[in-house]
Amino acid sequence: MKARVHITLKTGVLDPQGKAIEKTLANLGFGGINTVRQGKIIELDLAETDPAKAQAQVTSMCEQLLANTVIENYSVELDAAQ
């Protein structure tokens, strides 16, 4: 089973990388961008086949390592195929 973790900065945490991207897009002529936030995607290929167990496992991984919950939020997506 494949899992995909999206990690993003919490609102209120300054994101200088997002800001730099925003400015560069504007310089390239892309208008109408209000904000840009940069995050991460972590893809996991798990042996576990039970979705509930996989969800619990990955959530635990997020809490313990993958996300710094002081400054980051996370969400977990499971890919049923495989």
Binding site: V13, L14, P16, A20, Q64, L65, N68, V70, I71
Partner: protein
């Protein structure tokens, strides 16, 4: 003063730290590998600078989960002194021994230069050997030194006198120009609530003799030695 220096895969300031400590304390510190679950007897445990685990995922994140860190946390709870330098500071925030987080520098670039720091209070064991009222100079060398904590945490740190160092101009002004990385409040180092755990981004171990450009790194260790004797 007995010291232990913890070494992780990717630590690269461990030798500098071991050398500085031996030179200043007169006693060779004990290096401790990250897989140890016990620490030797030590008055001071140091988490040195470097790029442990390549700074992959987040700086200090994986080192903070190393087997040895449980022992480090226990020592801190038992009242030992713990010093986290640069990557070590990042590890301390990742374990929760210190609040907040160190993020990518606001300028997005790695920065290596000397900075001036105000010593916020000189009545702690770490800072007692610094002169009150004049800034000190130490080198920084980091990509992720931008200190972040939410408003409530910052208020608490200020209120409890737990700011250790701030980036300032040569004349002592904690303004934007003096802030190399965007840290909130120009914060360069903070203490735990018992003032015995110190995390700082600048590298005291790199400026301990005039030949290297200055000695403002010495008093940090000398003060601690005094406090312990």
């Amino acid at each position: 003063m007995k010291a232990a220096v913890v070494i992780f895969p990717g630590s690269n300031c461990d030798r500098d730290t071991l050398v500085a400590l031996e030179r200043i304390t007169g006693r060779a510190p004990v290096p401790v590998w990250h897989t140890e679950t016990d620490l030797p007897p030590a008055d001071l445990v140091v988490l040195p600078g470097g790029f442990t685990y390549g700074d992959y995922l987040r700086a200090g994140a994986m080192a903070a989960r190393a087997p040895v860190m449980a022992a480090v946390q226990q020592r801190a709870h038992d009242g030992a002194f713990v010093l986290g330098i640069c990557n070590g500071f990042q590890m301390l925030t990742e374990t929760g021994l210190l609040p907040g987080a160190l993020m990518r520098n606001a300028g997005l670039k790695f920065i290596c230069k000397d900075v001036y720091l105000s010593v916020a209070r000189t009545d702690t064991p770490f800072a007692r050997a610094y002169p009150a009222g004049r800034p000190i100079r130490l080198p920084i060398a980091h990509h992720d030194g931008n200190y972040f904590a939410d408003d409530a945490t910052l208020e608490r740190l200020e209120g409890e006198g737990r700011i250790a160092f701030r980036y300032v101009s040569k004349d002592g002004a904690a303004d934007a120009d003096a802030n190399p990385n965007g840290s909130r409040g120009n914060i360069a180092g903070i203490y735990s609530d018992n003032l015995r755990v110190l995390g700082m981004m600048p590298h005291p171990e790199r400026l301990i003799e005039p030949a290297l450009g200055g000695s403002d790194g010495r008093p940090l260790f000398e003060g601690l030695m005094e406090a312990l004797s």
